[in-house]
Every structure is written in C-alpha cells, then in structure tokens.
Subunit: 436 residues, 4 copies
C-alpha cells in the first residue's frame, strides 16, 4: 500500500447519508486512538527502518489528509492548524507541497504526542461541522473525499500495528503490544485442490460499494483451467521446506530472491528465532511465542513464497484466479476484529472443506501478478490521483487482508501491493496449479 | 536478456541437417570475431559498469557454453581446455559450478586476447568433429544444444556491441567503433493509430522454428480493443517532451522513475550531450554525432518511455498487443545486417503507412508487460533451464529487436527483458491507446 | 571524547574524604537530571545520527557505569538491576560483555524514561550505602572508581546537551531547549600575538588533582618560539573568510577537507542558515538566533579551522603551545555554570588584553596535534583501561572546554579529541604563528 | 605518497651539471619502460581498486608532469601533445586544471599503450632539447623542476610495481610479473635492543642533496631515552601472534583497527592464503610462493603493526627515533636494485648485529608518528606546492624504503605516508620500547 491514501473511482463511491458517514468518520477516527491505548509515550516516535512510520506520524498524517483534501477546500474560513504541519505530515504528494524526508520521520520529537492528539481533535471538530452541512453546495465532493479519507485511515491503522511490531522486534527486550490468548493449534485439514474451468471471466470492482481506483474498471480476462489450494500454507509445511535445505539451494529461487537470501542471510521467515531449548519462536504483538505449526506462515517475502511453491511442485495463483475463487465467500475470518492480531490455525470444522477457504484475514496472500493498471484504467485527476498509478511498477499484488485488517475494509477485488523482498507485512500465501 | 544463454523448448527446436547446423555454427562463431575487428587489444578488457562485460569475456563465455553443455557431455575423451576457465567464464549457472564475480570481469588481464582466440579455435575444432558424427547416439541432444548455443552467441554479439558503446562513452576521448554514413534524416510520416478489435487471441511460439522456452506455450489471452501507433516515437517528438519540462514534473512519472530522475539527474536520454554551439549530440558507435530528430529515440529507460506516454495522453502497448500486431509483418528493418548499428528514420515511402510498421530493428520496444511466465510455462530441466525462469520478476518485456540484432535472430514472439531503469540497451518505444 | 568514560591515572587521583565524595556523587548525579528538566518525554529517545546518543541512554549508561565498575565488584550481595541492561547500556567495552549497536540506540522505546529514572534511583541508593562503608577493605578502589564515574558522568552531561542541540536542529520546527538572554554583542578587542620563547618545556598532568590517564605522564617536549593569538576567532572574522570564497577555493584546504566541502556541500559552519531577510542565523539551545559577529565561531570542523588559518596566513597551535600558554590562567570563562550554553563575545575589559585569554569555556579549541600517546604513556589495566588508548589514531586534540563544560571538570592539561570532520561539538579555534 | 609528485624545497636542490641531469633524466625515463617489459598489453590498463592506477596511466602521468611543469612554461613554442591529455593525466592538481576521476582511470582503453609510448618519446625529445639549452634564461628553474620530475617518476615506478602486484592478485590465475629465485630462508638473528639516550636532537633534511619539502626544515625535537629493535619483525614472529588469536582479541587493537578486522575479515596480512596442503602462501611478483618465516612480514596495515607491538609488550618507534637511529647507516639493503622485488631474510652475518640494521629496503616501516608539518614548514608556492601539505592529516609516516624502492631515491630523512588501514604497499615494521 505504500502507506498511502488510495484514491477511489468516483463513480463507484456510494453517497452515504450524512448520519452514516459522520458516524463512520467518528468511529474510525476513534479506532485509531483505541489502537494506541497500549502504547507508552516513548513508543509513538519509533521508526526502525525507512519503510516504517512512527505511530504518531500515522496519527498526524491521517489528520493532515482530512485537513488538506476536505477542510481546506470546502470548509469556509478554515485555516490550517499549524503552518509547518503540511510539510511534516504530507507523505509523498508531490503536487500538494514539500514534505519531510520519509527516513527522518522518527527524528521528530515535536510536535509531542499530546499536541498531535489536540491536532486530531481540532480536525475532528471541524470535520463534524462540515459533515453537518447537509446543503453544502459541494456536498457530493465532501462525502466522496471523506469516504476516501476514512478508508485511508483504516489502511494506516493496519500499518500502525504492522510497524509497531517491527519496531518492538528491534528491541532486545522484545516488548509486547498486548497479551492475548491464541486458540490452541490444531492439525489443519489436508489441502484440497479446487478446480476452475478455462474461459473468459470478469474481475475488478463494479457496483455501489466503495473501492479504490486500482480495482477498476471491471474487465474481461482469459483464464486457463487451474486448481487453487483450499487453504494457506502453514508454518509446519514451511518448516519442511526449511529442513529440506530450502534456503540453501539456489534452484528454488528467483535470481533476485537468491541474492536476498545470501546478502541478508535469510534462513527463516522474518521474526523467527531459535529458542534456547530448541524449536522455533517468533515475535508477535503478544511478544515472543513458540511457532504454532498449524497456523499459516507469515512475514515471508514474495521470493520465499515463490521458492516454496517451486519446491512444492506448484506455483502461486494469479490475482484473477484468486479473485474468481474468493468472491463467492463471505467476508469472514481472522481479521482485526477478532482482536488476536496474529494468524491462527483454521478453526472451521473439517467438513467445511472441499471448497476454497481462509481467503480473508490471517495473512495477505502473495499472488504471481505484478501490480499494474487494469485495461482501461484511469487514475483520478488532481493530487488524490497522484499515488495509485505511480506505484504500478516493480511490486506484486497481495489479496485477502490479514489479521490486522478491519473486516469492513476488505473485499474480493481489493489489491494490496508490496515489493517482492518486503517481509514486514503480515504476508503469506497459498498454492495453485495448472489444471493441464 | 541478462547476458544469458536462453533455454529453448525442446519440442519446438527443428533438427537441422548436419551440414546446415555446422555451417550455421561456423558462420555465427565467425561473426563474433568479425565484430571485434575494429577493436584495439586494449578495448577488449573494459568493464565500465557491472552490467557490462568485457569483449573478451563475451568471446570466452560463448566458447565455455559449447564446451560445458556440448563438448564435455557428448564428445568422447574431451578434456576441458583449461582448469580455471570454467570458473572465469561461467556467467551465473549456480548448478554448473563456481563463477568469478560479475563486477570483476574487467580485472582479468589474463588470459590475453590472443589466448582467448586460441581457446575459441580449440572449441571450434572439437565442435566440428562432434557435429560431423552424424551417427552419434545422442545426435538429437547435440543438435538441440548446439542450436541453443548458436542463438546464445548471437545474443552476446548484440551485447558485445551494446557494451562497447557504453565503454567508449565513458572515455572523454569518445572513440568511435567504426565510421558509417547514416542516411539523411527525413521528416517521419505522422503517426497513424492502427485499431484492433477485442477478443480472445493466441500468442506465444508454436511450430517448427527455434524459440526460447519463455516464448512458450502458445496460449490464449483476452485483449480489449486498442490502437497501436504505426511507428516509433522519434527524437524530435521526445525533445518536445523535454522542452515541456518533462524531466522536471513529477506528475508524468512512476514513483520509482521520479527517484531515478532526481538521484541520477536524468535530463535527457542516455548519451545525450549539449553541443558546444547548442543543439543535442549523442554518442554512437560512429562517435559523437548530432541528434537526428527524425530517428527513433533510443537509450531510454522504461520509466522515460512510460512518462512520455503519460504526457502524450497515451500508454505503452502490452506485449500481447504488440505481438498480434507485428506478427503479420515480415522480418525487415534496420537490423544489424544493415551495418549501421544505429537507429534511423523510417525509409519507407509514406504510402506504406496505415498499417503498423517499424516493428523489427532500430530499437527494442518497451512494453507495459512485466516479464513473467506464460500460463502453463515450464522451464527445461538441468542447468540449461536455470536461467529463464529465474529472471521472471521485476523486469519489463521489450519486443522487436534493434539495430544491433541479427535479422535471423528475431521473431514476433521473441521476448527480451530488462529492468525498468536500464538505459544502455538500444531501447525505445511506440505508443498505444485504449479504443474505448 | 567518543562518548566514553575516560580512565584515570590511579596515581594522581586524590582520596577524598567520604563526605566530599558522596556529596560530589549526589550533586553530579542530580545535575544530570536537572539538565533534563526542560525536555518532553518524546525528546529523550532521539538519535539523529550515529554519533549522537539519546538523552535517556546517557542517563542509563552513566548508571550502568557505576553498577558495573563499582557496585558489582565491591558491594556485597549486589545483584544487577535488570539482566538485559548491561547489554543495552554498555557503550563499547569489549571486555565487559556484549553491547547494543551504537546506531540503534534510538530504537529503544523501552525501558521508558520513568523506568530509567527508577534505575538511576536504585543505583544511587546502593552507591550511597557503599560510599558510607568507610572501613570497606577495598575502600581505596571504591573511591578511585567512583571518582572516575563522577567525571565520566560530567562528560556525558556535556554530550547530552551537545546531542540535544543536534537532534533539535534536525526538526524543521527548530524547538528550543531553553530560552536564555545572551549578552549584547560588542566589538571584540583586536587580536594580540602573545610570544613564547623556544626551549624544552614540560606538559601533562602531575600532582594531586584528578586527571585522565591520557594526560600523563608529565613529560618534556621541545618548543620552537611561537606566537599565540590572545583570543578566539569570531563569527565576524569567519564571515570574511566565507565572503572571500573560502569554501570555494581548494587551495586553503587539506585534501580530505576539500572532499568534505564538495561531498557534504559545506558552505558555512554547522547550523548556519540564511535568514529570510538576509543575514546569517544559527540554531542554538535557545532556538534560531541571528549570528553575533562578536562571538567566537563555533561548530566548525578541524578542516574548516585549518583552512581559515591558512587563509589568514597563520596556523593552529599545537597542544603543547596551548597548554604552556593557558596554564597560568585561572579556570574562568563562559562555561556551563553561566547557564548560557552558547559561546559569547568576550566580556572582559579591553585593558586585560595583552595576554592570552578566553582559554576556558566558549568553545573547544582545535589544535594541530593528532591525538596520540604521550611518551611513556601506559593505560590502566582491565576494562577501565580499554578506551583511552584505543582511540589514539586519526583524531585531533581539542583544548579548553566549552560553554557546555562544567567549570569543575576542565583543566589546562585536559585533552579532548574528535575526528577532523566532526562539527556537532562546540568546537572553534584560535590562531598561532611561528616566531621566526 | 598518494601517487603524487612531491615538491622539493628549492633551497636544498643541488644544481647538477647539465650532463648529469640529462643522463639522469634519460636513465630514469628509460627505467620506467624497462619495468614494463614483462607485461602484456592487456596488463597496462588494469585498475583493481581506486588506490591503484593502471600501468599506462603511470607512464602517461609522469610524462604529463614534465610537459606541464617544465616544457610548457620554459620551452619556447612548445604546444601540448594532445588537447585532452592534461585532463586525462593530471592526477589531482586542482590549480592545474580539471582531471579525470581517479576511480575511473581503468576505463580508458584509449589512448592505447603504443600511443602512450609515442607520447613519452615526444616529451623525451623536447626535454632533451630543453636540457641542452645551457644558457636558457630560466636555467635554474628548469634544472630544479626536472630534478623534481625525475624523483616523481621514481615514486611512480615504485607504485607501478606495487599496483601490478595488487592487480595480479585479483586474478584467480595469479599471474607472475617475473620469476626470480629468492635466497633460502635462514633463521634471523635474535632481536637486539639498541638504546638511545634522552635529549634534544635535530631531525629533517639539511644540506646539498635532493629532498622533498616535507623533510624540512631541519629542526630540534626532544627524545626520551628509548630502545629500537635491531631488525624487522619476521613472518615467523607474526605467525606466533596470529596463532595466539591476535586477530580474534579486541584488546590488542585500536578501535578503528578492530573495526577493519571485523568488517573486512582480516585474519592475516594481505595476500596470505592457506595452501592446499596446509601452511601459508602469499602472492608475490613471482606468483604464489610459500611464506618464508625468516623474511620480514609485509603488506600489513598500521593497525596490524600497532596490534602486534602491543601484544609483544612493545610499541612502534616514532619517526624521530627511527631517523636518529638510521642515519648513521649507509644506504644498503634489499632495495629495487637487487631485482628481487620481495622482502628477504637478513643475509648479513650474525656478528654485525648489536647495532640497528635492515633500515633501508625490504619493507617501508610504519612509525607511530602521524604525518604532519615539521615546525616552521612552508610548502612551495604554485601548483607544485599543492600536494604535500594538503595530505598532512589522517596518515601515518613510514620510513626506510622497500624492495621496490630505487637505492638512489631513499635517504634517512625521507617521509613516506599512507592511511593506517592501507595494506597494498610493501609495508612492515620494527619494534621500539621506552627505556624507563
């Protein structure tokens, strides 16, 4: 996602009633602050690598988004809260002014956490006023942009948790964000291979609900017949790959992946450590825990997912294969709303299998599809259209949301995207096969 | 291409008669040496950046390829020419032994140029003996692998010229490889937009002729209706982009491209320099020459091609769009065989237009397609299958060959691939548009 | 100083009476916390470059020093406060165990600031008990090491302020540590050249008072006759150099210095910025202030001091020249105790001049002496001796203390040392000349 | 030496008779070419690291030196040989025009080796004419600068051999420059400690012979009494250090040295490799040879020399200690003139010991003296004075010449200087001790 406000296709954004939108706005703004409740003041400022942003930066940037794209253009007489905040909290909108260098976000002890909460309250107060103006002459634009801003904030909530995990893992004390009991591991059902016939299908978003512009237009594509695994690859299965010298043999790896293995000395997924008495442990938002072999493997790069698939005699699915398989399912799973914030073994009874499952939640699933524009794609005009198209090179698509994704944020057509070497996201995978 | 021997789909390689193959072998081996005729001994060892290989390394590596994959397995009693050459001249075949680090190929003054020519003669002599054994029990394998080796050597011939150009451009004396008169520039015909209807098409290689495995299998894909430009973008057209502050405005650029522009201070295609009396000049294999505004723009990265297209209100074609448009044309154009080794203005009479033209030769054309496996793709087994699949991430497909590509090497289904920031190849582009 | 506890020559450390030492201990430990009073919690964790340490790390490291080198070996039954603090707060004592990588000190949000204050209180309580044991069998060692620890903590107090300034200067908001009125600038008296005859002199520490081991042994050295400037070079004088294209002409610079100028684009001392309405401003601990041309120039590297001296037809003094000139003066000047924490114009009446002045306080003075061992030097045995000798290569000696140095910490024989490119210390210089 | 023409103190340069100087000029210019006789054309262009220059660059640069500093100012009507050679072959004289970036010297295949020899002949011819003009109005300046140029060329002869060794060592074939039989190793005599009383001494150059300006002025300095080892540390002695885990224990190392050990994984002197059947081998100009334990250790950095000395309970000598000890000896030893080009065991009968020996030749001896200006030092005016002073920071002094130094180039007051981490020079060391 590149930590960015995603733009939406104006045509597909439903015009909520005022009440709903204001409620959504208030609920989601409040969620961001609730997620910070377990933190100490000292935790808010950490940036342990350039891709990670400090918690307080997330809190401020999402407020800047509303201030810049909603309040300043539409709220009569609104003056920006602080003359330097636009510079500090613009992420990368070249057309929206200058911005503080991303790798130096962690060097800003001021404004303080308390000041940022005050900033948030200021923005919330004015947003409420604006959203109450039911007869504003630009009401439609306000509703549309607020809807974008709310979804944008949900993305940053996910990043906030993802980044806190990375930050805490850099501390030898391995502090825990919270302490949650996870369900006992249980043996996952064997993988079933769910077939799909060849033919022209349609993918992409269409209809009333909210979607980002990169999910549009809905368009035709041809699929050869294929099989998709019924569930995600587990830690236990991944350990078999590791024990078969998976990280020591170049033949399973893409050339760029093998370079990562050697230069960064990958030998297991990110966060995995050998326990003092043997066995694998890993960092979680509940601190260091033993690996549950029944849970989906997480924090692997595209390269690791791809190497595993080759070793297993399979491949990763394309995003079209994933979407046509997953869209029949309801949005259920180990999403943020469970409060676990950690991938877990499938809890469903074995009888449910035989169909594709576990598509939503747990881990973002790497696909073999490079992130690019759909045929006929057009980004939005203006600054809001600046960032979706501009990342359409060099990244891979992930699907399905994870254990830190809000349930009301994910959908079948949702396209997440990261670089193939990235591992700090909650990323895993399932396998696919050619049918012929 | 990653400087690599590409593997072929065994099923599609025709079994030439002995005489033809030996003749092809001898002709193409001789071509490599003919291309070096203009060089001084000192030129053979240059490696001015890691992606570039010294001329003499190309000459030795292509010989090592035959020695390793043909002579050693199939010629009874053959002993390798030198015990360390495999280490020195293996490019990147992890399964074929160790190899000298790529960025240090330019540090090997020994073996000398004369020694490498002797090595080539040694390999040629034994290859001739082997190819004469018409009743060798593994005749089919020998023919197949020799065919691969011959095509591999042609790829390195192209790289040899491409690399020499880069090397010479690093020398303030700007030495010329040769001195060839180029045809006078003439105003190119206006672009025509050639339409194509939507529907399922087949692309990829099928049939008798030689092809690399990455061109297979032939498979179905769905195309929305589109328009393809009848010709390549010219230097003159690109200068308009430059003069419209194309390199100064972030809005035309992919995020990664904009990073290149700023960090590497791109302000024109590679090799372009301001003349002392104004006007643009550029390095060519004939030394410094003024820019011909009618000739296709060359030595641009994918990012520059993509930015130009966005500025022009168009886009780059997909590889499928290109292939279905180009495959009706015969393989003609400004290819290596013209001896120019430089992109030139279209020489065809204007009346020929109305259809797509200039597809073969001049410049490799960037497409918007990331390089990846075709549906159902399987690489060859063994070392020869090591390298095509392993580069299928992060690179973009280019099509059509360039002015340094042999005419008998290119075809409609041929897929070249380089990183989006690469500029030292003879790379240009044409535009495409959605039909709706 | 390399942020390090300096070791002392045991022979020269006076055995204070218990009362005095405990009082000193308590006073200096308290000083560290008083210096932090203006800070927000968020400020304590900043590390804006590898050479800088977070405030809270300084607070913890100085406590670890007493815990490791005094409490653990001498206080019966003492158990370390936390099993991981030794790893987190050891600076670089290879023989005292592992340590957290220096550039990652800013990534430790835990322990929190409050926890570190608790740690300090714990150490203080046990230190008080130990210092009360007047008849401890190893009383002499305890006194000696406590004396080292107290001086060590004073060094870190200086670094704490120096680092906070650097951290705050990285924030576009340019926050102020405090707000102190500085005396009005006044025209400094003209420089007087104070002569010294040639001959053998003695330098280095001898006698009862405390000194680090690198100040010993007192030894003979030969000095040719020389002149030393009566005062420091001022901002106004340095601006003349700048306006004479001092930063644009290679001829004034050491080769390594010229490399810094070009690569890091030096064009003025660190922290200097052009004001919006012209004139130079600079970051201070009281925030952005206009440059006072009468004040000593500060935050210059050795290279800048050396270049200025060459441009001025002079040179920097050697440390021996400085010491024999300064040691007759009493320890007075703009030291930390004035509370200004910023270099100021000389306040003394003009009549005092004619002799060397302004030696103590304001800025550390670069000398032309590389930091190395005095003839006959021997470091202490054990971990405490690990760090003084091991830095004796590649750094330059500075003398005299600065506006952030406690008055009871500095003396004529005191040797500070930093790399010639370092600029974040309060470093300036005075000129010298050969007498012949 | 920084690959640089060193300037001389005009006052100390003797005015040779014309005949002698022309003979010297011709002899030394001829020597440079004789040293290249064993090379292949391909060898002349190698630059395997930035500190190393290609052979042909040395040949051209030394010619440019005469052209720039002698022919152009003094030979009436002289025109430079090629308009771009000044740019290509100026090393770093900022005041003498632009120059090609040092790390890219190896990318210049043109001018060819033959062209550079022609350039040399051209310069030689004109120099002969100029040196024949006995009554030239600026005869004294011509003689002086020619003398500098001749010494400069000798320095580059040493670098040429040093650099060829490094280049060849980077080639897995480990080619030999020549093949010379070395004397059989013999047990070196035990070290004797030669004492020197304390007192004021004079060091530095004075008198008629040639010397660089950094050797002047002769000046007084005070020495405490000391002992100097009678001979160099041998390979056998250094192996004892290695086998005592010398490279594994931080306590022997300066902090910067320990950083090198870990980051560059030093575990033995440069060029040392384990033999296939055990034992140490190393690269020499005669190719790979077994280590002679009786020969002086070579290709060690200052850090290694310093660590060894600390481990041995000794220290390195200062340059003043070395000079007052060595200047009584005649210039004899294993210098370039023996043709061995490799350090060898002392050949002298044991009876000669009891006095300092082995001071000249074999290896440059690291001293503990940072390279800086002598008291009262003034560099020459103009471009020729540009480079000696400008390197007076961060480097260490080496004394005595090595097996690749011409015998008529070295003297007791000669100061060579390199960075403490440098290892590719023929550098070794002897020990010293305080007398008290």
């Amino acid at each position: 996602m590149n930590m960015t406000p995603e733009t939406v296709d104006r045509r597909t954004a439903p015009l909520s009633t005022t009440t709903d939108l204001l409620q959504d706005y208030q609920r989601i703004r409040h969620d961001s602050e609730t997620l910070c409740a377990p933190l100490e003041i000292e935790d808010y400022g950490l940036q342990s690598m350039p891709d990670v942003s400090p918690t307080k930066w997330h809190l401020a940037h999402t407020s800047w988004f509303f201030e810049t794209f909603v309040l300043k253009p539409y709220l009569s007489g609104y003056r920006e809260y602080h003359p330097r905040y636009a510079h500090l909290f613009n992420s990368y909108y070249e057309t929206a002014g200058t911005f503080h260098p991303r790798p130096q976000r962690g060097l800003l002890s001021r404004p303080t956490v308390a000041e940022i909460y005050t900033y948030r309250a200021h923005v919330n107060e004015h947003m409420s006023h604006l959203l109450d103006e039911l007869r504003h002459s630009q009401r439609a634009d306000i509703v549309f942009r607020t809807r974008v801003g709310v979804n944008h904030e949900q993305q940053h909530q996910e990043l906030l948790l993802t980044d806190i995990k990375y930050n805490f893992a850099c501390n030898p004390l391995r502090p825990a964000y919270h302490s949650v009991a996870l369900p006992d591991g249980q043996q996952p059902a064997p993988v079933q291979w769910c077939g799909h016939d060849s033919g022209v299908v349609e993918i992409g978003h269409a209809g009333e609900g909210f979607a980002y512009d990169n999910e549009t237009p809905r368009h035709k594509t041809y699929l050869a017949s294929f099989f998709l695994a019924s569930r995600l690859v587990t830690n236990g299965e991944f350990i078999v790959f590791m024990e078969d010298a998976g990280y020591q043999q170049s033949r399973w790896w893409l050339s760029e992946g093998w370079k990562c293995v050697r230069e960064q000395q990958w030998h297991a997924p990110l966060y995995w450590e050998r326990g003092k008495e043997g066995g694998w442990w890993h960092m979680t938002l509940s601190g260091m825990l033993p690996i549950d072999i029944a849970a989906p493997v997480c924090h692997v790069s595209y390269y690791e997912a791809d190497a595993y698939a080759r070793w297993a005699g399979a491949r990763l699915p394309s995003e079209a294969e994933w979407e046509v398989s997953a869209r029949a399912l309801s949005i259920q799973g180990n999403l943020r709303d469970t409060g676990r914030l950690h991938p877990c073994a499938v809890q469903a009874p074995a009888g449910e299998y035989g169909a594709v499952a576990q598509c939503y939640g747990d881990v973002w699933e790497w696909t073999q599809s490079p992130y690019g524009p759909y045929p006929g794609f057009h980004p939005l005009a203006g600054s809001l259209g600046e960032y979706n198209a501009k990342f359409m090179c060099g990244q891979m698509v992930l699907r399905g949301g994870s254990c830190v994704t809000p349930a009301d944020h994910i959908r079948a057509s949702y396209r997440n995207f990261f670089y193939p070497a990235d591992r700090w996201q909650f990323s895993g995978f399932r396998l696919a096969k050619d049918a012929t």
